[in-house]
Symmetry: C2
Subunit: 199 residues, 2 copies
């Protein structure tokens, strides 16, 4: 199983954003939409072994959306239909327990601390430009339950970094060129597909 | 210089498509929009050393749109604003000579044969799932003027493959998992950034 966690620091927790101007009205939910398609979409299908968590911090109370490849339906490769699926999820009344929106999409109240507690059995890998190079020896044996944690355009706060490192995450870099979160996910999926770490 | 050529077999040559339903009204121009952002967009800027050609075959006469990183302006990472830029380019009266639309974006009549003639000095690399594995020895010395040729969701026709191979292209694969064109471009940019071929 591959898990991707993307933290949207300004991403709205409300369904009241416009599909005609996603970047301008949703706190850059467009970044999270592209991260979802990067994580799941193949030429002819959906990756079943992927799980995505979107941590939305741009509202009064944090919300988290979970997308599970195994049961995910209605996901198309374009940005707008992904945004429409997230809009539906944000319209579901959220409590601290997961509630289903459409097939394979769930929502709850809560942010990074709650999610890190849920992921305590996964091997956490936090992507940051100054981390250890992903090609290094330490990552040649990546296996098991991997959970990659990525920030959005604003980067993580010191408090969030404290939580992530306190949860035991390794800090890893994909290189010196600064990439968008969705592009990082594409590269990670490709590296894991190719088993390049085990070469 | 890195050049990416993406062939859109049903992609419209007319500006009369809807930004509210790009996949359904433009012959899947959404695939080409995502390929453009995959080719150019970094976390904080645009790749200056990239050139993209979109070959649009979904009209009466083929058109090609060129985007040059060096002078490209107004490109945002989201799909809709990219589609709006292409819409503007398609509204420019096209002739066999390049005409500028917005900064860094040009359009002309013509398709793959004309473009391959223009690229005769580049090292052509045609991405196909059953090609030689990109990790192999032959690609460890990739350098100079590289032009990668990618298809859309329909794949290339036999006639197009004949043209491409006749132009001297190497046939290369990114692996056995079938990826969308934009995801292939993300991986190629990352591989070239990382100089992994020269390791």
């Amino acid at each position: 199983m591959r898990t991707f966690v993307i933290v949207g620091h300004k991403a709205t927790t409300s369904p009241n954003f416009s599909l005609e101007d996603i970047p301008g009205t949703s706190g850059r939910l467009d970044i999270l939409c592209r991260s979802v398609t990067a994580a799941f979409v193949l030429s002819h299908g959906i990756r079943k072994d992927v799980c995505v968590y979107l941590v939305l911090l741009g509202g009064e109370a944090a919300k988290t959306i979970q997308l599970k490849g195994e049961t995910l339906r209605h996901l198309n490769p374009d940005e707008r239909t992904t945004a429409a699926l997230l809009k539906k999820a944000l319209a579901v009344p959220a409590t601290p327990q997961w509630a289903m929106s459409t097939s394979g999409i769930f929502v709850r109240l809560g942010g990074l601390p709650e999610l890190l507690a849920d992921l305590k059995d996964a091997r956490l890998i936090y992507l940051r430009e100054d981390g250890a190079n992903i090609g290094g020896q330490a990552f040649r044996e990546l296996d098991g339950e991997l959970a990659f944690i990525l920030g959005d355009h604003t980067g993580m706060t010191t408090e969030e970094e404290g939580l992530i490192e306190g949860a035991g995450a390794q800090v890893v870099s994909l290189g010196t060129t600064s990439l968008h979160a969705d592009h990082c996910i594409v590269v990670l999926n490709w590296l894991l597909d190719a088993n390049i770490f085990k070469a």
